[in-house]
Symmetry: C2
Subunit: 199 residues, 2 copies
């Protein structure tokens, strides 16, 4: 796909463009690292207009999320969904959404994400930027009275750890506990991290 | 060290024995996996009496913790320390102890542990057995009124995630937040998982 794209130069928006951008992104992020890779360089490699990156992926971080981290959802969609509901059920909705997203791929994709992040600085920087700057900071900035960044870190710690125990280490009984039971146990933790007392 | 030990056969207890057991354990766990490896096989490889494994490491799981996971502390010592204090400050003490243990190695050893666990089934099984059967189940069995295993899973999820964010992904500001501040934020979560309502 990539070499074919290179031969043909710029091409119209569509499924081929999206696929070419994903291929080019994996190459450029690997070569340049997360910080070094630019939307311009990725678009050039794919032979498409740089505006297509924003059109299809909402920017560099969204492209990284899909191409390298292979997240099963668009982070921007998730953020909008989370912040549009009641503030005092936000904790439950965050953990519920986390579980439905990753349970849907049988947990294998979360395990792959952790392996990738644990072994590669580039994936780690991308995950950190995505999680902090493009997901949870948007959430905590809207609901937290103070310590927005530290609160986002706390939320990340509980969600990442939940993923580790449920999908990677597969602790029993967490690996097979139904979502409402996990939401009931973990929701209040996230609610306190988001809007409660943490001192 | 290992080949030297093999030549000389059984030897008295001491630093050499301990070191020979650690070397032999790394080999046998790698060859046989966590479940397949036996104390007897490891002791034989090291050329020492199997009783030395219990003497130095408290059993197979303790030997695994030191040889493969390279935990900076003896899990049995930690459990005794945790359960000997007041029940209503247990959550704070658990997270405080977790942070002092891993901060002491600059976090690098936790990151190495996660890389090892993420990539190897053997390390993962050993970690799960250690965490659930030899650390937290002892703690939750003594303090929890119900759901002891699920509570231990929840504690594990918050601690492992905290380690991921502080030592592996190095989220700012968590990477440099002082221990009392983290304990104040996370302690109540662990206290609820251990002794509070989770339904």
């Amino acid at each position: 796909m990539t070499s074919d794209t290179k031969r043909r130069g710029r091409r119209p928006a569509g499924a081929d463009t999206k696929s070419a951008l994903l291929d080019a992104a994996r190459e450029v992020f690997t070569e340049q690292g997360y910080e070094g890779a630019t939307v311009r360089a990725i678009a050039k490699r794919a032979g498409v207009d740089p505006a297509m990156v924003n059109h299809w992926f909402g920017g560099k971080e969204g492209l990284f999320a899909r191409a390298v981290l292979q997240l099963p959802v668009d982070p921007e969609v998730i953020v909008n969904e989370l912040v549009s509901g009641e503030v005092d059920t936000l904790g439950e909705r965050v953990v519920g959404r986390f579980l439905t997203v990753w349970d849907s791929t049988g947990g294998g994709q979360f395990a792959a994400l952790i392996r990738s992040v644990a072994g590669h600085q580039m994936a780690l920087e991308g995950l950190r930027d995505l999680f902090m700057n493009h997901i949870f900071r948007h959430v905590t900035d809207r609901v937290a009275q103070d310590n927005s960044l530290f609160r986002a870190n706390l939320v990340a710690s509980q969600l990442i750890g939940l993923g580790m125990v449920r999908y990677v280490a597969k602790f029993d009984p967490m690996v097979s506990t139904d979502i409402p039971t996990v939401v009931a146990a973990v929701g209040p933790t996230l609610q306190r991290y988001l809007t409660g007392s943490i001192t």
